[in-house]
């Protein structure tokens, strides 16, 4: 088999290797975007809403209605083995 010279690195490959040694710039590499929360309208009858408000008022510290509902959903999902 005839001998063949080792292939030379192409000019562009050499350039890319040089370029890639540079640090990234702030904001240059797109950071993973935080997943946007899905919003929807939750319809509550007034009685349930009042009960929820009472529950929130009885808790120590401030917990938003949104957070309480999310926790309730997670508890329910946990109990069914999904969370």
């Amino acid at each position: 088999m005839a001998l063949r010279a080792k292939p030379q690195q192409s000019k562009e490959a050499e350039a890319n290797a040089f370029i890639d040694q540079g640090g990234s710039v702030a904001g240059g590499a797109a950071p993973a975007k935080p997943q946007k929360a899905i919003t929807f309208t939750l319809r509550l009858d007034p009685e349930t809403n009042d009960l929820l408000d009472e529950e929130l008022a009885s808790l120590k510290g401030h917990i938003s209605k949104n957070t309480w509902i999310i926790h309730a959903i997670l508890q329910r999902l946990e109990s069914s083995g999904r969370a």
Binding site: E14, A15, I19, G22, G23, V25
Partner: protein, 225 residues
Amino acid sequence: MILCLAGTKGGSGRSTMATNFACIAAGQGMRVLMVDADDQETSADFTAVRKQDHPDAPSFTCIKLTGRAVRTEVLDLAPQYDHVIIDTGGRDTASQRAALSVSDVILVPFAPRSFDIWTVNKVADLIEETRNLNPKLKALAFLNRTDPQGQGSENQEAGELLSGVDGIDFLDAPIRFRKAYAHAASQGLAVTELSGQHKNPKAAEEIMTLFRSCFEATMKSSKPE
């Protein structure tokens, strides 16, 4: 000519010089491409203001590029222009390296302050490394934001230090700290284009001296021996 304003120190005045040079060259009838390769996008913002507020002023094309695209796009576009001016950020980034890999000249501003001057060896190392890939690269340094009175010993000491750096030619064309640059930038103009109360002939003369020195130094080095 492909000219890259670069360096490894932030706030040394690269964008100010890049935008002024682009305006001056465009004013001389040259076709100028400005490449904003700095994520702060100062040159692009400047160009937007200029085009909006001074639609009849000498114009140039400005594009924003990052990373390897700085090299590939400039190689593609440069033949359509007399001059390409690349504004890079104050860090050793992929964008800056890509710019250096295709440039004829790197122009590095240094303020006569210790923190700025201390970066010169880093810049010299980067230039030396770049020349393995781009042997034609000419490196020029100048003092920016010097004492307006021109009396400070710091100016002289910084000049002497920069003159002694291997691989970088020092241009004795200092740009003094003047409010005219800020006034001009906010209006999308070069200091040479200021009029009325903000007109500053000294600033205009200084930047023209630097502009000519830069081009003369480049032409000198590109002449065959």
